[in-house]
Symmetry: C2
Subunit: 311 residues, 2 copies
């Protein structure tokens, strides 16, 4: 998918009115290609800033995209009206293809885009879509089971979980993994040991506090994201609980720097950079062939447990 770039413009700084270099609109009109991809984030801003997973994805995808001589623009859809604006933008042929990040249940964007024949790839397994779409995901369910099995093997008796939002596949899958491992071990999944978080640090702290109140006897907690786990560690600290002797904590890797700031935190590692590159590659592949013929597929990257606790 190698495309000659427009000749570089020499900015004539001396004059007031001057050429804008090769006009992109005319170029696009005749070539039928914009050499630009959109990175759509369907999330409120307060959630976006502070979500290291998104940060990793944005960085990784835009790097990979630029390496292929394509431009990359970020489109934020924080609310319903923005959503429509993004939709218009994309369907008007402003971009050749789209990477969708942070998809929520009931988001109709993927179906709209695929229906419009716009090459699209998703980050994370989608739910309830009319048409198949290419996606890239980590094995969240497997990772959740990995973490839970580890806690069981440690001999932990009352293993709690702070889940992600249960309307997002990433939230559901990690919880399913927890359930898998519990059932495997012949243990019941107790409602009072499960709290639904929102992937924010504050949410993690709040849910941890609630769990401690409800179940003071818990001796382990699997938290569905490192961001929330950091909050949970603070809450445990405040409650005077010792980690990991008193309560073991396992997070789920979304903070590349977590081992630095939280040396005591064991996490389930997902290959964030590889996932970002895979997203870009799948999209670029679709841009190469003709849109209709591309067969949607998906990649699921394995996860691994990285022990950092000095227990």
């Amino acid at each position: 998918v190698k495309s000659a770039l427009p000749r570089p413009m020499v900015a004539d700084v001396g004059h007031v009115e001057l050429d804008h270099g090769p006009d992109n609109a005319a170029r696009t009109l005749v070539k039928g290609r914009t050499d630009t991809v959109g990175l759509v984030i369907s999330e409120a801003h307060e959630r976006v800033f502070g979500d290291p997973f998104l940060a990793s994805m944005v960085r990784g995808v835009s790097r990979a995209v630029m390496r292929a001589d394509l431009q990359c623009v970020v489109l934020w859809a924080q609310g319903r009206s923005d959503h429509d604006a993004v939709e218009r933008f994309v369907t008007q042929g402003h971009v050749d293809g789209v990477v969708l990040l942070s998809l929520h249940e009931g988001d109709r964007m993927p179906d709209l885009l695929t229906a419009a024949g716009i090459p699209t790839v998703l980050s994370g397994r989608p739910m309830g879509l009319q048409r198949p779409v290419t996606y890239v995901d980590a094995d969240s369910r497997g990772g959740g089971a990995l973490a839970t099995r580890h806690l069981i093997a440690q001999g932990r008796r009352r293993i709690a979980m702070i889940t992600g939002p249960l309307e997002m596949p990433a939230g559901i899958d990690r919880f399913d993994g927890y359930c898998d491992a519990m059932r495997e071990a012949g243990r019941p999944v107790e409602r009072s040991l499960v709290a639904e978080g929102d992937f924010t640090e504050r949410g993690g702290a709040d849910q941890m506090a609630r769990l401690l109140e409800r179940e003071p006897g818990l001796d382990a907690v699997f938290v569905a994201s490192d961001t929330m786990a950091i909050g949970a560690l603070h809450a445990l600290d405040r409650a005077g609980r010792r980690v990991p002797d008193d309560v073991a904590v396992i997070g789920f890797d979304d903070v590349p720097m977590a081992e630095f700031t939280q040396p005591a935190l064991t996490t389930v590692r997902q290959p964030l950079d590889e996932m970002a590159v895979a997203l870009a590659e799948r999209l670029i592949a679709q841009l190469g062939g003709d849109a209709g013929a591309a067969v949607p597929d998906h990649v699921v990257f394995p996860t691994e447990l990285v022990e950092r606790a000095s227990a």
Copy 2:
């Protein structure tokens, strides 16, 4: 600057090949306008995610821009090559105008854009530019003086400061304000009471720790951003220092939620939302008139001290 939007496309979900709605390239070609503005962020990703000031600006600007029936795309320039890519993108007429956020010293983007006749507005006072550019800023210097005077009036004896990066106007101005107030009170600005931070929470914590080591006798600190102030509070906590009785802390508002998470933190408030709206409005005004005739100007919003300490 009211412009009729292209008629909404009805996505024909039934077929495989279908119209993409009104083609934007042709539209742009003939109208000479894209109805799109670029929001350029010149900052590394790890800095961007986690900087609430940027979050506020992105949200505020994009909202205001969309209200004017314009699209808004975010362009990230995290490194040198990205920088060039963004430059190409913008000078090729992909956008009608540009808002530049988080400018650093020596960034040639503003001069390039104005030289190319592209309507441009900056967030924050620029340094060392060849040509005048419209910008929007808060009165950082005044705010810094406000905070420092307050600490002096409280009877604090050894008032330290954690500055922002001293290669950024926002860093310099707040420090200048501190110096202003100190000189006003006939006090020397002592090197050992000043530490240069980087506007991150971790940086704030690190610099606070260094200051405490160097100057255990300090009884107040003015921190150039709330984000850093939160880090500083943690460091003080760890060192067993009591806030605000033992050590008074004043931050500089970049965290809209700070009063919620840090009820003890007094800060210098800057009107983030108004600043974002002003940025968008100035740009839109430039888009209306012809680019050459627009006279660059600037707005500087006043800051105010908001006491939240329960001291």
